[in-house]
Symmetry: C2
Subunit: 177 residues, 2 copies
Amino acid sequence: MDRELLLLGLLRRTDMHGYQLHEFIERDLATCTDLKKPTAYFLLDKMTKRGWITQHEERAGNRPPRRVYHLSDAGEAQFQRLLRENLSQPSLTRFGGDIGLIFADSLAAADVVALLEQRRGALAAELAAARAAPAHAGTFHLVIEHRIVHLESELGWLDTVIARFNAAASTPGEHHD
Amino acid sequence: MDRELLLLGLLRRTDMHGYQLHEFIERDLATCTDLKKPTAYFLLDKMTKRGWITQHEERAGNRPPRRVYHLSDAGEAQFQRLLRENLSQPSLTRFGGDIGLIFADSLAAADVVALLEQRRGALAAELAAARAAPAHAGTFHLVIEHRIVHLESELGWLDTVIARFNAAASTPGEHHD
DNA sequence: TTTTCCATGTAACTCGTTACATGATTTC
DNA sequence: GAAATCATGTAACGAGTTACATGGAAAA
């Protein structure tokens, strides 16, 4: 549903065609989400069928015609519903990386430390990139800020985990192989 | 891949049948992941075909026979690969809830505050539940800890966001409707 | 005796992805 | 003339879900 909210929200500001929407999302909203081309075209078709948006063709010369989408009244109502639902509910987060941690005692502690240091490096790079992101207009800077806060928290936690495996590494005889 | 790692990791400790695996994951690992029954049976079939695990039937009386799975040598190797990959890479997290935030200026600030307070409530409840979780054995307590750290970070950030919309609410004339 | 638990699965569907196809137009 | 960009899509696949089907055993 989040992607539908995204498309409706963008079309609410100004009419756009599919290529344009995909381009904008992949370029300017990449930190926060993504939307592949086939998905964009598929969702736009679907929402047209449901009456949330309307199409009209625009052709410039011999180029492939653009299908420009416009938010309808029903679409505006749907946008309001989705937005309120999105704001009122926390998005559930699952950390796939935790599954490896469950089985970390299958490896020697020193190995775990080496692997987690790699993870730490990638995380730190993401954080640096987020901090280097240019100042954004309107409410979008909240998203960047969220990302920074989250990555800082992840880094801090990871450091405590690494420290513990480091301690275990200097007290050998802990792993199961 | 994470679910395959999970199944291989559990089968590495002891042989189990599908029902048992599903049960264990949904009951004891619910904070960290989930695995529906059809998915479990499907993955077990797939991994059997790939030679990572082997089956043997066990029948008790007239009950439906159990298909007990056992990790093979190839499965152990695959487990090692998946585990190292999992530990060395940070899991990318996308916050669906951020998309609503991008469009928060479509609503009156006071409305946004009310909706985010709801989100805050649900988040606080999750945190309380995580804190109330019983002490866990081995490396699993890391997962609980991770969840607590993350939820605390989310709550703190959400509070700053709410504060800002609250400030905007007392300075009216900010929204676009 | 009816419900719950044990134990297996299938079928249909949703959501999203990758890879591919088409063809004009601008840029190098 | 070749390559990148604009603009649309289709087809095949992957991962996962819900709902449904089956049938015996234990518990209420």
